[in-house]
Symmetry: C2
Subunit: 265 residues, 2 copies
Amino acid sequence: MRAQTMETELAATPAFAPVIENAAARGRLVLVCEHASNHIPERWNRLGLTDEQIAAHIAWDPGALAVAQGLSRRLDAVLIHAPVSRLVYDLNRAPDMKGAMPARSEIHDIPGNAALPPEERLARTEAVYLPWTAALHGLIAGRIALGLQPVVVTIHSFTPVYFGQRRQVEFGVIHDSDPRLALALHEAARQLTGLRAELNAPYSAADDVTHTLRLQATPYGLPNAMLEIRNDLIASDAACEAMAETLAPVLNMGLVEIQKQAKAS
Amino acid sequence: MRAQTMETELAATPAFAPVIENAAARGRLVLVCEHASNHIPERWNRLGLTDEQIAAHIAWDPGALAVAQGLSRRLDAVLIHAPVSRLVYDLNRAPDMKGAMPARSEIHDIPGNAALPPEERLARTEAVYLPWTAALHGLIAGRIALGLQPVVVTIHSFTPVYFGQRRQVEFGVIHDSDPRLALALHEAARQLTGLRAELNAPYSAADDVTHTLRLQATPYGLPNAMLEIRNDLIASDAACEAMAETLAPVLNMGLVEIQKQAKAS
């Protein structure tokens, strides 16, 4: 009976499977890109937005996927990324958060998300959020079972101007309840790069941006962090590749540091 | 490519779907019974155990499912329960915990779990744990999306004699990081029943028994608790039914109390 219900739902709203790259990787890192795509499937009719709005940062994190792919290749890391825009469902938000299916993002109204009925919230949760959470959880739990001691890092980008304000920070490292990895990465970025690196900027856990970390890493006690790269620094393929080259040693140094701490404790 | 890998794994070890009852229920409670079954699928060859051992508490929580079903009917609550024995995979444990596939339980060696290779730990994780976690997460996230404010309660039973020691507690209420619901249920049990009720007995979170609560409730800030009933009090169908009749008002009073607290805060 359950399978039947599922099929009915899937017929109404097809499920959107996340994309997994480098699935056979055996490094500790599990790289996560919740805002990789600005794709809005046809059934949502562009959510009433213009081409320009769909290309802008409100629909996705421009550059984040290419940097994550560059890191995945350099660090023998599995990578999972979103198949649809954060405006359909923001995979870094729980289903009852306003930001999960936002009616407004920064200075833009999202017409297709205005006054969503509970049934539509459920349909998007089942079509986008649940396939994503199950796939990411599968990657993590499978690696735990194999004794690979996974470490969860999410990769984001942010806009240089937000509500008219220019942001000075270039590279943000954000933590939730367990700061170990974030502190190590922030320190590594200061030592190894010329980036203006800050902790818990341009957002922090208080802004409800650490849902993935809370859901997927904290219950298992896994080291975790969220990375934020200012998107004007990764505006071309070449710039993304260069940023991956800059950040790969930062991640490596962070992993070595938490390994050292774990041995000492 | 991923679908292919999945099929290969499923061919090797079929997935065991959890059982969901009362799926259309709209009450706040999501009842969870991780140790409902002592079924050991054929491929695991009884894990080398005798009939007597498979009937005993080491393989499951006798009575817990019948009490949970009685509560589900009385409280308009959805119920999810395990399809296989905790000795194949203990669904209240993470894949790297010893207790997930225990080589020893209380005073019994489990021959089929001795020195499991990583590949077998992965196979059981994918066959038993992942279908379970995805289904329970789906129940919870769907209810969050609908605004039903779910509350997670796990139902267990414990043996009256453990390592030769007699246990006096009859009804245990265990909490993890958020004690709200557990405190309310403990108080309600003292007021409404003649049971010897204790908080964080016969185990506590320090014994690694709150994995389900940590994984499924805490990330969403949902009220949650684990209930433990001494199994000599629920040794027959009639006794299970009577216990459900006793505990239903306790759960109702607990829900009312946390609702009151939520309004006051």
